[in-house]
């Protein structure tokens, strides 16, 4: 016997408003317009610039359930559409996230879509064009018409060199593209404050550090210091770590394993450490002063290890 069931509950809507997202450009307007018109969206941007946060924010703002799929190279079309499972002597059909989203009119978000094999991505074609329907051949050729409110959103990082590297042109041209970059220093500062409550000199210097690292054109650096890593560093500072320790753990460590490059990054971080700047104590806020005191107490574990 064949039964249908829904395996997963959609992500519940936020009770207290959408997750915080500060636009860097017109991406919110484009997203909303595309959603109203049922156009699939392609988000391009470097790691940690806020692609996923934007999708969460918009899903909540538009009041649609969100189905997120992290794509990987072993993902098959069945993982998106659904499959039969054996239960006892019976077989049970279980919807995949794409099918669920189409049924309930949710937003289906395929994160890092270039990581998926092309044959899996082709499954979204019929949903992504004017037909807005899904053909489930395995379910006896059932066709599901996407419910109102359904939207397909994919994201990828154009900087990555994966073996597949790119989506098929036939997939790409079904999409509306939004290109995201890192926010300007002012906006990034605002994001840092909203996300972490870190203020004053340490926050300023973290932003500056991020800007400086993004100016680097170094072959060993595959990524730059993203907004996400800066937020992580700020969170560590608010937990009482010194500026250098926090930024080393959250920024330098994740960026590179190369010991030489790490040492260079740590030297950069020290240059930005407000605690290393006794002259500035008088002019800085209390946060800078605190950090200065902490740094003198904390021995640098990186140095000891090296």
């Amino acid at each position: 016997m064949i039964t249908q069931s829904t395996a997963r509950e959609p992500v519940p809507l936020e009770a207290d408003g959408p997750p915080f997202y500060l636009p860097v450009g017109n991406e919110v307007e484009v997203f909303e317009a595309a959603w109203r018109r049922g156009l699939p969206l392609m988000l391009k941007g470097p790691t940690g610039c806020g692609k996923t946060r934007l999708v969460e924010h918009m899903a909540s703002r538009l009041g649609r359930p969100l189905f997120t799929v992290s794509c990987h190279e072993d993902m098959t079309a069945s993982d998106l559409l659904g499959r039969f499972l054996l239960s006892g002597g019976d077989t049970t059909w279980v919807d995949g996230p794409l099918t669920q989203a189409a049924r309930v009119g949710g937003i289906c978000y395929l994160d890092e879509v270039v990581e998926a094999r092309p044959d899996a991505v082709v499954a979204i074609h019929s949903l992504a064009d004017h037909r807005r329907e899904l053909n489930l051949e395995r379910l006896g050729g059932t066709t599901i018409q996407a419910a109102p409110g359904f939207q397909l959103v994919v994201s990828y990082n154009p900087g990555y060199q994966s073996v597949l590297k790119d989506m098929k042109p036939s997939t790409r041209q079904r999409m509306v593209a939004v290109e995201l970059g890192f926010p300007t220093a002012d906006r990034e500062r605002e994001i840092l404050e909203r996300e972490t409550d870190l203020r004053g000199r340490p926050a300023d210097e973290l932003i500056r550090l991020g800007q400086a690292v993004r100016r680097l054109d170094h072959p060993g650096l595959r990524e730059v210091a993203s907004t996400r890593t800066l937020v992580a560093a700020a969170l560590l500072v608010t937990e009482g770590l010194s500026f250098t320790d926090a930024a080393t753990a959250a920024v330098a460590g994740p960026l590179s394993d190369d010991p030489e490059l790490r040492n260079g990054l740590i030297a950069m971080i020290r240059a930005f450490d407000p605690g290393n700047d006794p002259a500035a104590e008088g002019t800085s806020g209390h946060a800078g002063h605190q950090a200065a005191q902490k740094t003198t107490r904390t021995t640098n574990w990186i140095q000891e290890r090296a």
């Binding site: 499959r83 800007q211 100016r215 680097l216 260079g264 240059a271 407000p274 500035a280």
Partner: protein
Amino acid sequence: MTLHPGSNPSLAELELLASAIAGRGVTLEPGRHGVYTDGAVIYVGADVTAGAEQCRHAVVAQAVLIAAGSLDSSRMRRLSRSRPGSARRYLGLEVARACQEMDEALPGAFQAAVHPYAARVGVTGSPDESLLRAVGRTPLEEPPAWFGDLRPVAMLRSPGADGETPSDSELAKAIRAATEPEQDDEDDGERSGMLEKLSSPLRSPLGSVFQRMMGARRSSGGEGLSGSGVSVVEQHTGRAPSTARQTAQALPPSVVRAGGQLTRGAIYPEWDAGSSAYRPRWCTVGHFDPPSSDDPSVPPSGVDPRLIRELSRVGLTWRPHDAEPLGDELDLTALVDYRVAVAAGTSGEPRIYRAERRTAQELGVLVLLDATGSTSEQHEGHAIFEEQRDLAHGITTALDQLGARVATYAFYSRGRGNVRYLRCKTFEERWGVTAQRRLFALRPTGFTRLGAAIRHGTHLLDTQAGSQHRLLIVVGDGVPYDDGYEGRYAVEDTRRAIDEARSSAVGCVGLSTRRTPGSSEIWDREAHRVTATTAELAADARVLLGTALGRAGRGRAVHHVRSAS
């Protein structure tokens, strides 16, 4: 105690900071005294404690000057003629100006340190205004000592500073000088301009300390040779390495001075057939970008589907496949699907196994284009170079579309101290318009020191390709010729370099667009083709490249450690 900066790792660590602020690759080198820059290198004097905060501030100040475009040659010329003190005043005003402009990317501590001076002298609006005030008669405070120095004469002598290319007569001198015994470089910044340009590898006592340091800590900044698993072998050994394999590896990636300009690169030995021995540390290969041209037209990237099809079968390796009719392991998903099908009453073919099939491509290719003067000849109205360039373009495009790891460089040489690798596409870059424009901006020039070029290609494949199968495709007319590099000597060295490549498991083939007499001396029949177009190449690409990979594979340990990528 003042540490000697050459022996102090903190100087090297500051390089990344300086590069970030300058917005391009900057090297730090020990100098005699004071902190100053020539536009590409920041010299930190022996009298400056490398770890100290003042040293860091001074390095940042110099990097700021580079970023702000304060150092262009016309202003430097003006300052070099002005009364003493003008240069330092200009330095102070420019640091203050740039500090305000680059506010968002500079350490707060540095800004706080500059601020009092900037407030006293007032911030200018442009480099020209700074210059006028610096050379003017109105009294103006000099910046604090920690700002470092500005040496307009050193700036003007640095060939790398302003993108100046040396004239032909200078090059001729440099080539002659490159074969003469090395001079001892006493002062890094203020040698005479000509000595600067002709020096081949850094040989000064300071230089060799620096170079060992650079070599031992692998690459940083500029053209990347990172991820190298090459062990650092003592460079100054007088003996020739005993085996070809050793030769190809005895090259730590480092900073070299090629044709007077500091850049990433490496130094290679050369095979002297006359004495059956290597000449150690003989050729310097440096990385450069092709000169930017205003609007090199990039043709539409049409690809030859036949070439893609043929290339897709080169360099394959095993990959597990799902839902196979035969195999060693069960594919559980396929098994469940099959059971479902049986339960639903429609039993299909039981394709329920996982099996390894030889379908995955593991191929890294370096396309090396001969951009030397001899290829500029016309043949029936077509420049040979353009044919070769289009062939290299077609091959790169096809490989890129296939998803193979591919890098494309052009090369030419002007003497053994100046073998130039011109970057079109590195392994990491995308084959986008920028990269293709670099290829089409190339103009043939210089000579052909093919052996060194092949050795460097092998080295890049060895350290950066990260694939199981590696292939070096040389597109050129195949006639090695350079200063002190001709006839039997050049042919034997090139053949030796090809053998070294093969023993490093790098397949090596030559492609020419015209039949030239010299190529058969270098390439054997199996490894060389005359193909005017990609269509002709497609006809036997699989045989040619497959054979080359097969020959390279022989004699190599089966186990291959994949390098990080």
